[in-house]
């Protein structure tokens, strides 16, 4: 396939492109989903295709195909080149980039897991889900629904370009989840969920806290607890934000605003603010494609879809904005180094600036010290996602939480949303715990520019933040 891609690059240059990138992916996606006693999804997807980016006059054009036939590849390159030339005529803001030394990937660039998902049969994986659901079922008579899900995504990603770079590596992601819905005595429904996912081998599901039984029990227990949980009052409170939720804050509220394409066009409130003090010294946010997965978890992304090698980008350093997340063009335009953040959800899309693993770095508090520091407020845990507006407004859902009084965890509270403006929130971060935890998932993912769901890692320590707006019940 490398030969075919190299031919595409040659053809693109021959018909006038100034620079060509050709990539091929051959991915396998497996989804297993059991709802109560019924297997809802037993799905295997094979996703193979080629994407071509042609650059011309500071603009780009993209085309793609799922065919590997020579004639279709020629048509694809021609289309991409034609789109680039048409774009160049209309582009008033050019995003050129400099040529660099070609990169060659190594075998060691692929993360090695002990038990790769492709080595185990379907029965092994359905058993993981069955064990999860069976354990969750033990958690009470009020359960109205249990969903157990397993997902895996793996396969080859091959890339070459006009510089002669050859990047050839294998992506891998596995995920086991459980969601339990219980009915309260008044008839309303409440949820509990648990998950373990990221670039990991199936051996991970034998480790404490991530076994199917642990995941099922956790989801069931939380759903049971939610039966007696009360709605959180609306208003502003001090908050302790658990790791996963801290990750959503880092990703959704801040990470997106730091993406180079939003910066160059001035859409982000972070544009032109390099060096500005935006948060407290306790707020450091990093994006890193190859974190220490075995220690912290997360997603392994040694290269982006523009052939750049992963780097550790400190976006916010102790409250000061240091760097944006780039593709090659936005990096040059903003006079920064490329950060290997150019990614596409699949071959049908042009790669654009996206995050890899985005997280708050760890602080120095123990859990007890964090609760003590919180004093009275909301301990917000887990998340079902969030959203951010172009002005920095955000809303995140904590799936559950507790009311904390004088440093002691009191009654559980129902799903609660946190909202506000990220720049205000960063200036209210008082501290973080020592434990850094990253997570990624097969189900869901990041959405941007119509590209959804892109797997991303996120996380952090637990964060103590003052003055957080909680949407709940007024009065």
């Amino acid at each position: 396939m490398l030969t075919e891609l190299q031919k595409c690059v040659e053809l693109g240059e021959k018909i006038g492109a100034e620079f060509v990138e050709a990539r091929f992916e051959d991915l396998t996606l497996r989804t297993l989903s059991r709802v109560n006693d019924v297997w809802k999804d037993v799905i295997l997807r094979s996703r193979a295709g080629i994407g071509i980016v042609c650059y011309y006059g500071g603009a780009s054009g993209y085309s793609f195909t799922s065919s590997e036939e020579d004639k279709e590849l020629e048509r694809t390159v021609t289309r991409a080149c034609k789109m680039a030339k048409a774009s160049a005529n209309a582009a008033s803001l050019k995003l050129d980039f400099d040529r660099r030394t070609p990169l060659k990937s190594q075998k060691s660039d692929t993360f090695q897991v002990k038990t790769h998902p492709k080595t185990e049969d379907l029965g092994y994986k359905t058993d993981l889900v069955n064990r999860t659901v069976d354990k969750a079922r033990e958690c009470g008579k009020s359960i109205s629904s249990i969903i157990g899900r397993y997902g895996e995504l793996y396969g080859r990603k091959l890339f070459t370009n006009s510089e002669g770079s050859v990047i050839d590596w294998n992506f891998e992601l596995a995920d086991l989840q459980c969601r339990v819905t219980s009915k309260t005595t008044s008839g309303s429904l409440v949820n509990g969920g648990a998950q373990a996912g990221g670039t990991l081998g199936l051996e991970h599901f034998n480790t404490k806290g991530s076994t199917p039984e642990d995941i099922g029990e956790e989801a069931g227990t939380y759903a049971k607890e939610q039966i007696r949980a009360k709605a959180c009052s609306a208003g502003k409170f001090r908050a302790l934000i658990e790791n996963r939720l801290a990750g959503v804050l880092a990703h959704e509220s801040f990470g997106h605003l730091s993406e180079g394409d939003f910066i160059v066009v001035g859409e982000s409130p972070l544009a032109g603010k390099i060096g500005a003090k935006l948060g407290t010294k306790n707020a450091t946010i990093v994006d890193y494609g190859t974190p220490d997965i075995s220690k912290f978890g997360g997603l392994w992304l040694p290269y982006d879809d523009q052939g750049m090698k992963a780097s550790r980008t400190v976006i916010l350093n102790e409250g000061v904005l240091e760097h944006y997340l780039h593709n090659r063009g936005t990096a040059k335009y903003l006079k920064q180094e490329p950060t290997a953040n150019c990614r596409a959800v699949h071959f049908g899309f042009m790669p654009i600036p996206r995050m890899t693993n985005t997280y708050f770095t760890a602080g120095d508090l123990t859990k007890e010290e964090a609760l003590e520091s919180l004093d009275t407020g909301v301990y917000a845990i887990q998340t079902s996602g969030g959203q951010v507006g172009g002005d920095g407004s955000f809303l995140f859902k904590a799936e559950r939480g507790y009311w904390v009084q004088n440093g002691e965890i009191k009654e559980p509270i129902r799903e609660v949303s946190l909202s506000g403006n990220i720049l205000n929130l960063l200036s209210n971060v008082e501290g973080g715990t020592k434990d850094l935890h990253l997570e990624a998932g097969y189900f869901g993912g990041c959405g941007k520019g119509g590209q959804f769901p892109l797997p991303c890692g996120l996380g952090g320590p637990e964060l103590v933040i003052r003055e957080v707006t909680f949407g709940g019940k007024a009065g």
Partner: protein, 464 residues
């Protein structure tokens, strides 16, 4: 692939695939879904131009035998790729016993419905034309006001179709075309940033883009000089059509799905015939609306799309079904099987297993225009003029929602006053439907494939 031959080519491939499948296992049931879509998309953002042109094509197989069902898909619609999916689906089925006792077979053949209307001009929209349209809309917005800081315009032209066949003898296909333009802009004044969005998406005519840029810019600028609400309270909320549509999707999009009902996830599940909303609320799902974005002759398993009344005068009349959940529930499919959602974008239809989704929701309008609705409010209310952030991060089972209205105005003593800094709006979707205070007459088509007027609710908590 040409639009004219699309259905024939897809149906021919379906026929070949099914013949091959039968030779592999004559006792199994097979369903084959083929998808093809060609799209040209152009985005201009502050002078940066991105353009994409390509075709998404792929196949999906479902195999059933002895109450076991498996699914496999692959990109491409060549015979080899189809065979690959068939073999992988069969291989999954043979590998492990994964019974679904509720499965009673694939869709039976029925006379298809009608495809929606479309203008052939969409097929001839070139990248140059789309670039010019995008450039004009950006220019229009920029020229409206100096405070318009960033404008992004995205234009697209797409056409395609799908075919479904199964071993019950069903073989049907449907095709459609769409063109659209979306303009987003940001108005900036010192540290204040306000965003606004306008669009036109149609199938029956070419997009009318003149004025879209101006409208988006006008909206963004009107939100500047926002004041803090400075209180936590309960107030009436007025949701203009685009905001109301997001409420309808978030609250009823999933809870009226027969799948949520059967699986015990919808609190509306045991309320057929009961009053779940104010009597002014009537909602239909019309999969045969000629100009509806999701209108097709058949749904994603080959069942004819149709018109279904969901809520009539506040009472829940019918849930939406595909054939799988319909037979479990003891009813007929409503032709709502889907493999993609145009609402949230980019899932690849052939990679998605069949699920239930409304096609084109329509809310029956009342009589008052927006001014009259505002004039009917004594005291204070919040006017929400865009999609609140986080509205879709709500849970179908609890109905609890919390969202941030970043484009909102204060209404006081029957008048629209000033723009507000973002306010948090929260409550329970289902209680909200009961506390519907008014239904406007200003019916609008929205990007969510929901046609709705302004809706006014009582009882939501506001933090601002």
């Amino acid at each position: 692939m040409k639009y004219e031959n699309l259905k024939d080519e897809l149906l021919s491939a379906v026929d070949s695939g099914l013949k091959y499948a039968r030779t592999i296992d004559g006792k199994a049931e097979f369903e084959l879904y083929l998808f093809y879509e060609h799209a040209t998309k152009v985005k201009i953002s502050q002078g940066v131009v991105d353009a994409t042109d390509g075709s998404v094509e792929g196949n999906a197989i479902r195999v059933a035998k002895d109450n076991m069902v498996s699914f496999a898909s692959s990109s491409g619609i060549s015979v080899e790729r189809i065979k690959r999916s068939i073999n992988e689906a069969l291989s999954s089925l043979r590998a492990v016993s994964i019974k679904d006792e509720r499965f009673k077979g694939f869709c039976k053949p029925k006379r298809p419905g009608k495809e929606g209307v479309f203008t052939k001009e969409i097929l001839n929209l070139s990248e140059e034309t789309l670039i010019n349209i995008a450039r004009d809309t950006v220019k229009e917005a920029q020229e409206f006001d100096k405070r318009i800081h960033a404008v992004e315009s995205e234009c697209s032209a797409e056409w395609g179709g799908f075919a479904v066949g199964n071993t019950n003898g069903l073989q049907q296909a449907s095709r459609s075309a769409l063109n659209g333009c979306e303009v987003a802009c940001i108005a900036v004044k010192e540290e204040e940033r306000r965003t606004a969005y306008e669009f036109d998406i149609t199938r029956e005519r070419l997009i009318k883009t003149s004025g879209i840029g101006t409208k988006a810019a006008q909206k963004a600028v009107s939100l500047l000089d926002a004041k803090k609400l400075n209180k936590t309270t309960v107030l009436p909320t007025i949701w203009v059509p685009i905001a109301a549509a997001s409420y309808i999707v978030a609250s009823l999009g999933q809870s009226t799905s027969g799948g949520s009902v059967v699986e015990g996830l919808s609190p509306l599940g045991d309320k057929i015939g009961q009053e779940i909303a104010d009597s002014r609320l009537t909602i239909i799902d019309d999969g045969q609306n000629p100009t509806g974005i999701n209108t097709e002759a058949i749904d994603a398993e080959g069942y004819p799309q149709q018109k279904t009344t969901i809520i009539e005068k506040g009472r829940i009349k019918q849930f939406l079904f595909d054939s799988y959940y319909a037979q479990i529930y003891g009813t007929e499919s409503t032709g709502n099987c889907t493999r993609q959602t145009r609402i949230f974008g980019s899932s690849i239809p052939y990679e998605t297993s069949p699920q239930i989704q409304f096609k084109n929701f329509a809310v029956e309008p009342g009589n008052k225009n927006l001014d009259a609705l505002i004039a009917s409010i004594d005291g204070q209310a919040i006017l929400i003029v865009d999609i609140p952030i986080g509205i879709f991060h709500s849970d179908v089972s609890t109905g609890e929602f919390s969202a941030v209205a970043q484009s909102a105005f204060l209404v006081e003593d029957c008048e629209k006053k000033w723009p507000l800094e973002p306010v948090s709006v929260s409550g329970d979707f289902y209680n909200g439907l009961k506390q519907l205070r008014d239904v406007g007459g200003d019916l609008e088509k929205t990007v969510f494939t929901v046609e709705t007027p302004t809706l006014v609710f009582d009882g939501f908590s506001i933090v601002g």
